[in-house]
């Protein structure tokens, strides 16, 4: 749902311009230093980019899903690392409080996420628990008016810079599955939190992940999100929305890659003409364009359906599965069209090729999306 087309056009236009004028020129520096420069982060805060999905009454923009995916596609035109910095505040780092937080929690956390004063992160994955998240082992033991957290969370995006940790932990050790899990919002500075070394990743330099370790960490009981035992449901709601966002980013990145590949193909000459004139190159360009368009349509349609209140669990997973695999193929073709130049880091496609690999892994691997889609199909048929 687009509440006001004119406002959305302006929002998207300003994001596109910021991407073009400020972010794209900084891509190489971010890749080399593994840091997004402070002044760019400050500008992103001033622009209001940290609060896109936070409700308006808490200082955010309260974008609908359809509006959000339009902005996410625009952000996709540059290194995913930039989006990642603000991605947790707009998504997995804040959504649990937005969906299921108490009024007091919303008052305390949401305005700070919206302004970017605080960075939130989402702690579900553990060393022994990835796709099978319901089997998580981190424990939260009630003691008086606190819960005592123990456990290790792995690959936590923005963990190294986080001010709050949305932690899923087992409050009931008797129940092994999802029903024993609760969600907490833990503030930096709580005793017993430590961070592991920053992970060395294949791509997305500038977006930092690390282990977050809880050792007898006392979390005030008021920081429980929702009810005990409902944390896994909250986490799945968070990931459900995130799937469409990642799908939209994948579409944006695909557009960027297609643009880069096309301009290279128009300029590079071989056999006496621009390689864009060779039909085998044209086939790659056309396939990429077509697939990106298909993904765009899927994302927009699903976002609209979600805004209408439809259950889009199957469709969101279908979007994530198709869009993230699509951008992998588009990146691969973009490298191919660049020839040897696509393999050296003077051209952005080399970096994007590595960056987009992540989209098929986190917030549910492609296999997990397939499982969700098929399980929903089977459930609906019986």
């Amino acid at each position: 749902m687009i509440r006001d087309q004119e406002i959305l056009d302006q929002l998207v236009a300003i994001v596109e311009r910021f991407v073009r004028e400020r972010l794209i020129p900084a891509e190489d520096e971010v890749a080399e230093t593994n840091r997004v420069p402070e002044d760019i982060v400050a500008e992103m805060k001033e622009l209001g980019l940290f609060g896109m999905t936070i409700p308006e009454q808490y200082g955010g923009l309260g974008l609908t899903m359809e509006e959000e995916v339009h902005v996410a596609m625009a952000l996709g035109h540059t290194s995913p690392a930039f989006r990642s910095i603000l991605g947790t505040n707009n998504g997995i780092g804040s959504a649990a409080v937005v969906f299921d937080g108490s009024d007091a929690q919303k008052q305390r956390f949401l305005p700070r996420y919206a302004s970017g004063e605080w960075v939130g992160c989402f702690c579900l994955t553990e060393p022994d628990v990835g796709s099978d998240a319901a089997a998580l082992k981190t424990t939260a033991r009630r003691e008086g008016d606190h819960y005592i957290l123990n456990g290790t969370k792995r690959y936590i995006t923005n963990g190294p810079v986080a001010d709050t940790f949305n932690v899923m932990a087992r409050t009931n050790p008797e129940i092994r599955g999802a029903r024993g899990i609760s969600a907490f919002i833990v503030e930096k500075g709580t005793p017993g939190i430590s961070l592991g070394a920053i992970d060395k990743k294949m791509g997305q330099a500038g977006s930092l992940t690390c282990d977050v370790i809880f050792e007898d960490c006392p979390v005030p009981a008021v920081n429980l999100i929702g009810e005990e035992g409902e944390g896994f449901i909250t986490a799945m709601k968070v990931l459900d929305r995130g799937r469409l966002h990642i799908s939209a980013v994948s579409v944006g990145v695909a557009d960027r890659l297609i643009g880069d590949a096309l301009s290279y193909a128009l300029n590079r000459q071989q056999f006496g003409k621009a390689i864009a004139e060779h039909q085998l190159i044209q086939a790659m360009l056309a396939d990429s364009r077509t697939e990106a368009y298909a993904a765009r349509c899927m994302v927009l349609e699903t976002a609209r359906a979600r805004d209408r209140g439809d259950n889009v669990s199957t469709e969101s997973s279908a979007c994530k599965l198709f869009a993230t695999e699509m951008v992998g193929r588009v990146a691969d073709r973009a490298v191919q069209i660049h020839g040897g130049a696509g393999y050296v880091s003077d051209y952005a496609v080399e970096r994007f090729y590595r960056d987009v690999r992540l989209f098929r892994l986190y917030e549910g691997t492609s296999q997990i999306q397939q499982l969700i889609i098929a399980r929903n199909m089977i459930r609906d048929a019986s």
Partner: protein
């Protein structure tokens, strides 16, 4: 101090335009449109004056079709207080624009008019000067610095070979050059809030201005394509070509 800024809707500077097949103009259908960059500098300057407490109100005016509201909204998102759309389907040529601005200056009791030195579509560079002639207001064109004083404004102008500083008595006109300031980005929350700021719509007729055109475009041609260069084998060949083909020495 009451400040008027004019904002023009032009094709986005990043769009590659093509000449229409009938040579009547450039193809703008579906082209991305934006606020003229020089106008944006004018808006930024006005807002800075407001932030420094030197201006009480900033009014943004645009002349064009209803689509020009978008550019007024951009100015409002950047910090202008209210907008005026002078709605017309006809081409806004410099003299008509200057006359419309004159009518608004008089109606609103404007102390300072800040305009872009030119718009990037037709690059006329005329409206500010014409408005000066029509109103007898002093003008500081091509400004790279503007410092308001008590009932005055000191403007540093970019001129051939250097800078010139002039002191103008208010009410006055300033036209902006590129180095005057670096416009901010409208923040997303301010874009949303701008929707609530008022935009008045008037017609040129109501302001007593005729849009009758005095200039007729006969034909629009793309710039000539640069032909490929050649490599010369020796200095002698180079001299020969410069002398006999290029005829520059």
């Amino acid at each position: 101090m009451k400040v008027l800024v004019a904002v023009k809707r032009v094709v986005d500077a990043y769009v590659k335009v093509r000449v229409k097949s009938d040579h009547s103009g450039v193809e703008l259908a579906n082209a991305k449109m934006a606020i003229n960059p020089f106008c944006e500098i004018a808006v930024e300057e006005a807002i800075r004056l407001k932030e420094q407490g030197k201006a009480e109100e900033v009014i943004a005016v645009s002349i064009g079709t209803s689509a020009s509201q978008e550019q007024i909204r951009t100015a409002l998102a950047l910090g202008a207080d209210r907008g005026i759309l002078v709605e017309t389907d006809q081409e806004a040529q410099p003299l008509s624009v200057a006359r419309i601005l004159k009518a608004i200056v008089e109606k609103e009791g404007i102390d300072l008019v800040i305009l872009g030195k030119q718009s990037i579509d037709t690059d006329n560079n005329q409206v500010g000067q014409m408005l000066g002639a029509l109103t007898n207001m002093p003008q500081g064109t091509f400004a790279c610095k503007a410092e308001p004083g008590d009932g005055t404004i000191t403007v540093t102008r970019e001129i051939d070979g250097g800078e010139q500083t002039v002191a103008l008595k208010l009410p006055a006109i300033v036209t902006t050059d590129l180095r005057l300031n670096e416009p901010r980005y409208a923040s997303l929350p301010n874009i949303m809030k701008a929707k609530k700021k008022p935009i008045d719509t008037v017609t040129p007729d109501a302001l007593g201005v005729s849009m009758e055109s005095r200039i007729r475009t006969l034909s629009v041609e793309p710039p000539p394509q640069r032909s490929a260069g050649i490599k010369v084998g020796s200095v002698d060949e180079l001299i020969d070509k410069l002398k006999n083909e290029a005829k520059v020495i």
